[in-house]
Assembly symmetry: C2
Homo-oligomer: 250 residues x 2
């Protein structure tokens, strides 16, 4: 059985706060075990890491000004998006679909204006979300006395389907993918293309456990995935990224 429980009570996180210690306190109170997965919304990770940009200090480029004009956005906000972007995949109707420097393809390069404590600031993705996940996991072991896996999640739009689902952008200690491709099905024939994005599904399950995006519950403990939790940190969310020239779907 899979369980996903939101852990209430995380205080507002500010740059420089020790998020690992704060999460460890919640996780300990919740009785965290070594085979659990702690899923954390990226925004608190970004805040703790100081990934907050004051728009007053941003000077937009000509490209940012043109895009902003065309899509009804603040040119300084667009400049922050472009700074996070390796490739602008598409720009339409106020949304910029970007491939970030990490390799994630998402709206506005993951730069978000909502939920920032300060007005006129935006929040970017962590610089290296896999490293952030590893750091949180190590802090949890020290402070909570358990060694759960850690997943950092963000809500992404999808091609062809409405709505957003949470996906893993940083992972430590959870297999990103479970490979069933070599196994036979019950009739003994090879299963076709069964390669399950376990970490993304864990992020999605965790998102369901949040009462709402404004509930202030960025941490969710997912149980029942012990078969995929590893002592080593493993390859991280990087392993989920398709190389551009391999992508059949886009």
């Amino acid at each position: 059985m899979i369980t996903a429980r939101a852990l209430p009570g995380l205080p507002e996180i500010r740059p420089g706060d020790n998020l690992g210690v704060e999460l460890a306190a919640l996780a300990r109170d919740a009785g965290v075990a070594n085979d659990d997965v702690l899923v954390v919304s990226h925004k608190v990770v970004s805040k703790a890491e100081g990934r907050i940009v004051a728009l007053s200090g941003v000077t937009p480029s000509v490209e940012a000004k043109v895009l902003a004009h065309r899509h009804g956005k603040d040119p300084r906000h667009v400049q922050v998006i472009l700074d996070e972007t390796a490739e602008l995949v598409r720009a339409e109707r106020g949304v910029l679909i970007c491939r970030t420097h990490h390799g994630f393809v998402c709206a506005n390069a993951g730069v978000d204006a909502s939920n920032a404590e300060e007005p006129d600031t935006v929040i970017t993705l962590p610089r290296d979300p896999d490293a952030s996940a590893r750091g949180l996991r190590t802090a949890l072991r020290r402070a909570a006395g358990a060694y759960p896996a850690v997943v950092i999640a963000d809500s992404f739009g999808r091609a062809w389907r409405h709505g957003q689902v949470d996906v893993a952008i940083g992972i430590a200690g959870l297999e990103p993918l479970a490979d069933w491709r070599g196994r036979a099905d019950r009739q003994g024939r090879a299963l076709q293309a069964t390669w399950i994005a376990v970490a993304d599904q864990a992020a999605a399950a965790a998102d369901l456990a949040r009462a709402g995006k404004d509930s202030g519950e960025p941490a969710v403990l997912v149980g029942g995935l012990g078969a995929h939790v590893t002592r080593r940190h493993g390859p991280g969310a990087r392993a989920l990224l398709r190389a551009r020239d391999e992508d059949l779907f886009a």
Copy 2:
């Protein structure tokens, strides 16, 4: 808290079997409640509905022969895929990415050779998965005495990311999407683009609860989503499909 429990013991399903009655027996034994969501893998639904095609009876067209030759596939299998396809989105390295007649974009139009009881047969998606979900829900009410929501799920590949996640292809009684776009965050500013694909995330959570694709556990009971379960069947998975000309991501 969200829970997802696989319901073991579903017998092998054959065309004409009353899947609703079989599922009702499992759900009743599991103590199904009105605010639960029963997630069912499409394959058993397709089998019960006789959506099994014997390749011996298929005559491939010239197009099917050309595609099959180019991608190392059985021309008859390709013909079944083309029969299910409204638009061939891409064809590369043995995989055909198709928009099905329902509007789903997925590999091989959802036509699957694995797990079929009979050799040299393939299984197609249900003709109208939302109608299938409604039918199962009605059968559950009669036979299990509870009125859970029903989601029919399939594993889809994604653009830009490796691995597959389960998504909802048929829905009865669950909101496909939870719309937080009008709500304010804790700082009182409007949330950006927060439109959560609840049913897809429920399908993903359910997939995690299966021990494996060969475990013979196509039915998973998801609890904790009562806020999204509705008495009416609702708009179905059709509401999750982006119109082609609206799609920013693809």
